[in-house]
Amino acid sequence: MSDLIPFIVAKYNYWIYITLMMIGLYAMIAKNNLVKKIVGMNIFQTAIILFYVSIGAKKGATIPIIEHAHGDAARGSVSHAIEIAHYINPLPHVLMLTAIVVSVATLGVALALAIRVYNRHKTLEEDEIIDQIKGI
């Protein structure tokens, strides 16, 4: 038991993203309202984005921008060696920019579809929609 706490604490980023993912998944499955489902889907995707960003983090590291290395101030190579451990990994952030865009686009499409469904069925509650369809 005593080494369970450090185990959880040390990998807290994983636990958080899993929890968020499950919350999102739960919302998608269990909630009745279409918008709530869509929000759940967004939470799901955000959890994964958080996961990626978190794996790039390093203890005591700073943002991945080399000082005075741009423009006229730096001609040719940088004057000192770069210690990789001082900078957090920028790649996951870059990847997640794309993923965020994808998530937003999906959100947009989903909401547009929800509007179409609302226009037709005049309700956003899934059980009522299914009743309407079965009645038709």
């Binding site: 799901f44 499409v109 037709r120």
Partner: protein
């Protein structure tokens, strides 16, 4: 120019999508020609690429000149060379065949429809051509989102069906992304070839196992592998006919390609069949998928939904074939990617023709169709024979390899499922053929059948359909060449 084929495949359709969108505003009649031009370039490039691959084994294209693993690389080998040709040809044939149908259903929204169409094909081509795992995710989402748009343009129940597809599709793609994330943690690379070089020392780590399983589940969700198939029947049924005959043949097959790519290139057969002991269970899952697909198809009363459940069964064929772990099974799965794309295109084009003339696709609408639309129904019979698996159509030959693989692997359950599915397909298709053949009893004794009531679909819809139907037989006869010269080299030597 030929060294740019890999990128032309993706860039030309991508850019022309914008032109089509503009043309949708300015001059609607330009949309179709631009789309045809874009896809023709794609077909030309993919055929050129396949020919290059036959000579050079692998064609690598570094985007922006950046070498892997820092840059994104488009890598074309025998496996995706074949799939590229299939995807681009199917997309082009479908584009031409459904022109009239699109005009009929979407006269004001033609610009939007063709934009989404071309972007969808761009996404698929990108998925197949890329050698970078994250780039695959991006293109996967391009294809998925445009696919949702295409399906949602359909009839009344389409938006809801699309929404359900969207939920499951997003979960699937997100799982894939998650799996790639795990792989990135342990290997530090996103390039497929690079990952597969780094992974061998890590085969026994739980992270790699988790990555593999999560990626697989994500891909299975997107290919509608039973029981993760629930989105497919409604989505494909309520989509407009032009969209369903594009998406149905291609989307699930490209996801099968992704699965095979993950199994053969990224994770390598040593891991999948050596380190993991999942293959038997997965083949049994495939058996269940085949049986359930067949049984659920029997319960349907409209043609499109029946065909959608047949797709679920066909996915089971390919997943089972790939996971059998032997050369014959993998050959069957890869061959079936091409064959099933063609067969599905054939039958969905038939449905498109039927909907264009009869405006309905329930079984009751199909009465007497053999007399009204003989050529369309002739093509339907050829497609049906291919799905049943009758030589010399191509469907027989992929079944041959799949059954051979199951015999060699000793997995007789899979063979029984394949045979069961063939027999159920006979029933399914002949039920439809019966309805079309035995029209309502009228005074048919005593007068000859003449063309007075023939109301065939227009030529632009009929000719591509007949080309595809003929292609089913031609591809079947050329199976030996395809297997010997292409698929044989697509499978690593390690698999026996």
């Amino acid at each position: 120019m030929s060294q740019h084929y890999p990128v032309l495949l993706v860039i030309v359709p991508l850019l022309s999508a914008f032109f089509i969108s503009a043309a949708g505003w300015l001059n609607r009649r330009l949309c179709f020609p631009i789309a045809v031009a874009a896809l023709s370039v794609a077909v030309f490039s993919s055929v050129g690429l396949l020919l290059r691959v036959l000579n050079e084994n692998v064609v690598l294209y570094k985007l922006g000149g950046w070498s892997p693993p820092w840059g994104i690389v488009y890598s074309v080998d025998y496996l995706n060379g074949l799939v590229l040709v299939v995807v681009s040809v199917v997309a082009l044939l479908n584009l031409v065949a459904t022109q009239r149908s699109v005009e009929q259903e979407f006269s004001e929204k033609i610009g939007a429809f063709y934009t989404l169409y071309i972007l969808f094909v761009t996404g698929l081509l990108g998925i197949v051509v890329t050698g970078d795992a994250f780039n695959l995710y991006v293109l996967l989402e391009i294809a998925s989102l445009t696919g949702y748009g295409l399906i949602a343009m359909g009839e009344a129940r389409a938006p809801l069906a699309t929404l359900n597809y969207l939920y499951m599709g997003t979960i699937g793609a997100s799982f894939y992304l998650l799996g790639i994330g795990y792989l990135y943690i342990v290997t530090g690379s996103l390039n497929m070839a690079d990952i597969s070089a780094i992974l061998p020392s890590l085969y026994h780590s739980r992270t790699v196992l988790a990555a593999f399983i999560i990626c697989m589940v994500g891909v299975w969700l997107k290919m509608a592998f039973f029981p993760l198939h629930a989105w497919l029947p409604n989505a494909y049924t309520y989509a407009p006919s032009a969209a369903s005959s594009l998406i149905a043949p291609l989307m699930t097959k490209v996801m099968i390609y992704v699965m095979i790519r993950l199994m053969l290139t990224v994770f390598t057969p040593e891991f999948v069949f050596g380190t993991l002991t999942l293959s038997n269970s997965v083949v049994w899952l495939a058996v269940i998928a085949i049986v359930m697909g067949a049984v659920l198809a029997l319960a349907q009363r409209n043609l499109k939904k029946m065909l959608a459940y047949i797709i679920v069964a066909e996915v089971g064929y390919m997943v089972g074939g790939a996971w059998l772990g032997n050369r014959a099974g993998m050959t069957g799965a890869i061959l079936h990617i091409a064959n099933d794309a063609l067969m599905t295109l054939c039958v969905f084009l038939v449905v498109g023709n039927i909907v264009y003339k009869i405006k309905g696709y329930a079984f009751d609408d199909l009465k007497g169709l053999f007399r009204k639309m003989p050529f369309t129904m002739g093509a339907f019979v050829v497609g049906a024979l291919s799905i049943i698996g009758v030589p010399p159509t191509c469907g027989f030959f992929s079944k041959w390899y799949l059954i051979l693989g199951s015999i060699q692997a000793g997995h007789y359950g899979f063979m029984a499922a394949l045979l069961f599915s063939s027999l159920v397909n006979v029933i399914l298709f002949f039920r439809v053929i019966e309805i079309g053949y035995y029209e309502p009893v009228q005074d048919h004794e005593g007068h000859e059948a003449h063309a007075e009531r023939v109301a065939e679909a227009p030529l632009s819809m009929l000719v591509p359909l007949l080309i595809v139907a003929a292609g089913l037989v031609v591809v079947g006869l050329y199976t030996g060449d395809i297997v010997e010269h292409v698929i044989e080299f697509a499978i690593p030597k390690g698999i026996v």
